[in-house]
């Protein structure tokens, strides 16, 4: 009962925001100020969404993209977290490769496409490479930042209790950093999404939302472009609500930190 009510409390403001957005969109559409080919009505987009869901193209694309995303993101989290730990553990690594990794972060995904093709060819691995290279620097940075926020007192307490090296990180510093880390992962997740959309263009044969959006765009099928955008935003919101948000709320409640969302 309590769970259901709290879930409703979480969901309805989100619905309200979406409805407000749709209402504004409909109004703008009705002014006729923008050509209806480039700014279709919410209803047209809804129609395109339904059609694309019905014929299975959006579900198939979404599934393919999500699988890539999950694999790529998992690799990024593993690699980024390790890199972040290494950077915090050693000032030399931080200053040398750490800085390089941060420099890499500014490179757009398209810059990696040629290299990905070169190294892996036109296949899934190349797409995953683009996702990983696009999101692991962000995870690294998030890891470093969250580890640095750890109150020195907790680290000292852990060390005097006899934790050191890897164990100190695993049992004390890392858990202490978790609230900031989860927030940082959200950024990494966004980077992964965006890189995926670029990566899926490598082999546009690769079924996926990025490819679908690109094809619709070339085809000037704006309702379909927007339908794909809606799907991406919806997935983003659901993941935020059900994964990051839920996790974040749990951690914060347990530790007596400010809770919201």
């Amino acid at each position: 009962m309590w769970r259901a009510r709290s879930a409703a409390k979480q969901v309805w403001p989100r619905l309200a925001a979406v409805l407000a957005l749709v209402a504004v969109w409909q109004l703008v559409y009705q002014t006729g100020f923008f050509d209806h080919v480039v700014l279709p009505s919410p209803l047209q987009v809804w129609g395109s969404l339904r059609a694309n869901v019905a014929d299975g193209s959006i579900p198939r694309a979404a599934e393919a993209s999500l699988i890539r995303l999950l694999i790529g993101f998992a690799v990024s989290v593993a690699a980024g977290t390790l890199a972040g730990l290494a950077m915090v553990a050693s000032q030399f690594i931080e200053r040398s490769f750490g800085s390089l990794i941060i420099g890499l972060q500014s490179l757009p995904s398209i810059a990696w496409l040629p290299l990905a093709i070169l190294w892996f060819g036109l296949n899934e691995t190349a797409v995953l490479f683009v996702v990983v290279i696009g999101s692991f620097p962000s995870v690294t940075l998030a890891t470093v930042n969250s580890l640095r926020q750890v109150p020195p007192l907790l680290e000292r307490a852990g060390r005097t209790l006899g934790a050191k090296g890897w164990r100190l990180y695993r049992t004390v510093i890392f858990p202490a950093a978790v609230p900031g880390y989860v927030g940082g992962l959200q950024q990494g997740w966004a980077f992964a999404w965006r890189s995926l959309m670029a990566g899926e263009l490598i082999a546009s044969g690769a079924l996926g939302l990025g490819q679908l959006m690109n094809a619709s765009r070339e085809n000037l099928d704006t309702p379909e472009v927007l339908a794909v955008m809606v799907v991406i935003v919806a997935i983003g919101m659901i993941v935020d609500l059900a994964v990051f948000g839920a996790f974040d709320r749990r951690i914060r409640t347990r530790r007596g930190l400010a809770v919201a969302g």
Binding site: L153, R156, L161, R255
Partner: protein, 281 residues
């Protein structure tokens, strides 16, 4: 293991045991200067030399800011002296270790663990087998009157309860050396007295070495084999007072009253220096 009790004694030299049995903790001309954010330098303590014999209970007293926490951190291996050296069992300290438990001035509980998990975690690091941990933990949480809060998260405890939880965590590990920084400051007089008695009992029964920072002269007199008094900052040792009253002690022991008033007198002198400096500068 218990140092020979010799009677009231005042000296600034290392205590005689240092020569016979090797000292458990040994500080030699330790000095620590902090570089402040503004660029200036602050000397926290200087030229501190003392030995703590195995199984000895030493209390460290001194005016606020005289470097007591700094010294404790250095003994714990969390900080390094700029000059001088610290030896544990004759070997230089290279870092913190589970042989020296530390009770910080603020209770440093891990906020993501329940009170029980905090204790269990420490027990695990100290190598206590899983099967034993529950009993040890329940025993010590009982001692600090927190049995009913074993499953609570640290943020759900009051200030004093947190200090008690941290105390239980440290004692449960039965470290060779316990370094405590005013562990009872946040407690009411009665709870404090109960825990002081408990600590005395633990010490008598286990023969561990204690270095105990406190601001309460009566507490020091009640607990310590020896009281070390530090000067106004930058702190250095100015007084050493051996307390020979037999144990278990009582608070109204007349022998203690003399120690208390002696230490008080010295402390006043040091604090007055601080005040004079304030007024002068």
């Amino acid at each position: 293991m218990r140092p020979a009790v010799t009677g009231p004694d005042l000296r600034l030299e290392p205590s005689p045991q240092a020569g016979t049995a090797p000292a458990k903790v040994s500080l030699r001309n330790v000095a620590r200067t902090y570089r402040s954010a503004r660029g200036g330098k602050v000397s926290a303590c200087t030229d501190v030399t003392f030995d703590v014999a195995p199984g000895e209970f030493v209390c460290l007293l001194g005016p606020s800011g005289c470097g007591k926490s700094t010294l404790l951190n250095i003994i714990a291996g969390l900080d390094r002296p700029d000059r001088g050296e610290v030896l544990i069992d004759g070997r230089p300290v290279s870092g913190p270790g589970p042989d020296r438990a530390v009770l910080f001035q603020e209770p440093a509980l891990f906020p993501w663990m329940s009170v029980a998990a905090n204790v269990d975690f420490a027990l695990g690091l100290a190598g206590v087998p899983k099967t034993e941990r529950r009993d040890r933990r329940m025993f010590w949480l009982g001692k600090v009157h927190l049995s009913r809060f074993a499953d609570a998260q640290p943020h759900e405890l009051s200030g004093g309860m947190r200090q008690r939880a941290a105390l239980a965590r440290a004692l449960a590990c039965e470290p060779d050396v316990l370094l405590a920084d005013e562990p009872f400051a946040a407690l009411d007089a009665q709870t404090r007295e109960i825990l002081q008695r408990e600590l005395q009992r633990v010490w008598v029964e286990t023969g561990k070495t204690f270095v105990f920072v406190t601001h309460n002269v009566r507490e020091a007199a009640f607990l310590a084999d020896r009281v070390l008094l530090m000067s106004a900052p930058p702190g250095t040792l100015v007084e050493e007072q051996r307390i020979t009253a037999p144990r278990p002690r009582e608070f109204d022991d007349p022998l203690l009253a003399k120690v208390v008033s002696d230490v008080h007198r010295h402390l006043i002198k040091e604090v007055e220096k601080v005040v004079a400096r304030e007024i002068g500068g």
